[in-house]
Assembly symmetry: C2
Homo-oligomer: 320 residues x 2
Amino acid sequence: MKLLRLYDILAQELENVREVFAAELLDDDAVMADLVEHLGKFRGKMLRPMLVLLTGKAGGRILRDHYILAAVAEMVHMASLVHDDVLDEAEIRRRGSTINVLHGNEAAVMLGDWLISRAFHLCASLESQTATRLMAATAATVCRGELLQLYYRGFFELSEETYFKIIDRKTAAMIASCCYLGAWAAGAEDTTCRALEAYGRQTGMAFQIMDDLLDLTGQIHTAGKSLRRDLAQGKTTLPLIHYFRQATHQQIQAIKVALPSADDGIFDDIVEQLRSAGSLDYARRRAEMFIQTAHEYLDVPMEEDIRLLLIDLADAIVSE
Amino acid sequence: MKLLRLYDILAQELENVREVFAAELLDDDAVMADLVEHLGKFRGKMLRPMLVLLTGKAGGRILRDHYILAAVAEMVHMASLVHDDVLDEAEIRRRGSTINVLHGNEAAVMLGDWLISRAFHLCASLESQTATRLMAATAATVCRGELLQLYYRGFFELSEETYFKIIDRKTAAMIASCCYLGAWAAGAEDTTCRALEAYGRQTGMAFQIMDDLLDLTGQIHTAGKSLRRDLAQGKTTLPLIHYFRQATHQQIQAIKVALPSADDGIFDDIVEQLRSAGSLDYARRRAEMFIQTAHEYLDVPMEEDIRLLLIDLADAIVSE
């Protein structure tokens, strides 16, 4: 993602977000301070804070509430990353006991819970309950998405419709809420808030499709995370759905048989098959379509340079 | 615990709490509805809702906000029970893969997160942010307690002071907040709210000591949960702290060597040693002292029959 220009433009405001974030997680207990330091490795691209800030500018101007909302969104997101590190039984058996680098599953669970609690504590410092209520509802929706995905784990006949429902809940909903709240906190009119929410939803859909694509095609050193995890975990993402739709019965069976005990070599073969079948291109095209629709939702009154930044951000998601 | 009379007296009001609780967790998605049904097994003693209700009566009268606060407290508590079911690597290796009856660790994590999010969503339906802010801060404190306990896992030289710090955070803090909020929502004066908060804290300390004692001495069929889990997990609770304080070096070494690979027979032996050394009695006496102090905090203006119910509830915690 080419977000460098945006980081530059939002540098001071993102710094304010980080300050609010750090202040909320400050803990005088040595054990806690140590754990908070470990959280550094979960620091992300700050996509959600950037969207709160940009939609804040689109809806009016940045106020202290925006820094709070942006920090809350990042905290809830970080909690989900920490909880994503909690491994299931199968994975532990497969990968050995050294993988959870923190202090085991239980610490990861509690640390994530602590982050969620601090996030809502921070959110409740706002004057109105509106943001807390929307943030909490959206955090619940994210969990519903993750649970739906777990339910369909290992189910390779997943329909595109169900896949879109999953990623809408687990990713697009929160990005949409960030955009809504950014505009809302700036005092924007409801039509503007709703339009930006829709922009966020489309952008979020594209973001998750690209993230799933990266899991298949990315290079470890650039992605900065373990790859082929979706395949290993039996998560059927868009390229696989496309592939299965047009593959022969024999090809489908071959993948189904290979996956449960697949190693890197087999993963490479599968990705090559997906590439040849045009399934990787298909997923990318679908992401680009969502971004195209996202652009259209920006047709509400806002300063032109902010509109261009929102377009830039959306475009960056589908850029190489 | 002899809470039967209290269940009778609060029957209608507890039913109202359950209704608010169930309405918040209603989900039209079949996958979610199925998971919510599974939550039934985590249904507890409703101690926290009872305290919200009783302190509400002590502080004035029960309003709709009390049902909401009581449901929120129970939801946060249930989330912690669900997350308590997430096993660590060692436990999974020891107990095999069948123990997590739901759908694996990851589903347990997400379901707990969903509960926490729904809890804060419900709490944010109150007019003021005060309760959300206190509930979120307290939920964070609970996590700090759990993390401190994890940090000291396997550390048998735990001081009584640190043990009390752990149970204050992981249990007493939330029970104290329930009592505070019950009185607060009824419009009680700050001194009354603070006194009932202190009553809750002392009661909570006693409750956790007794719960830890039950883990050692309880019978599976009456406790309704797996026992000796603290010993198996290397959690040093009050009887062990007392025992280690007066045992010979040889006795201490014997337990340290036996514990990591202990089976039921060895656990029985250890419990017998604790009993002979008076360590079980010691823990019980400490719990009774906390209850004694809890009584003293009830010396604020309230209806006499409510005061007696609060005394009853505290006494029930240390009753056989």
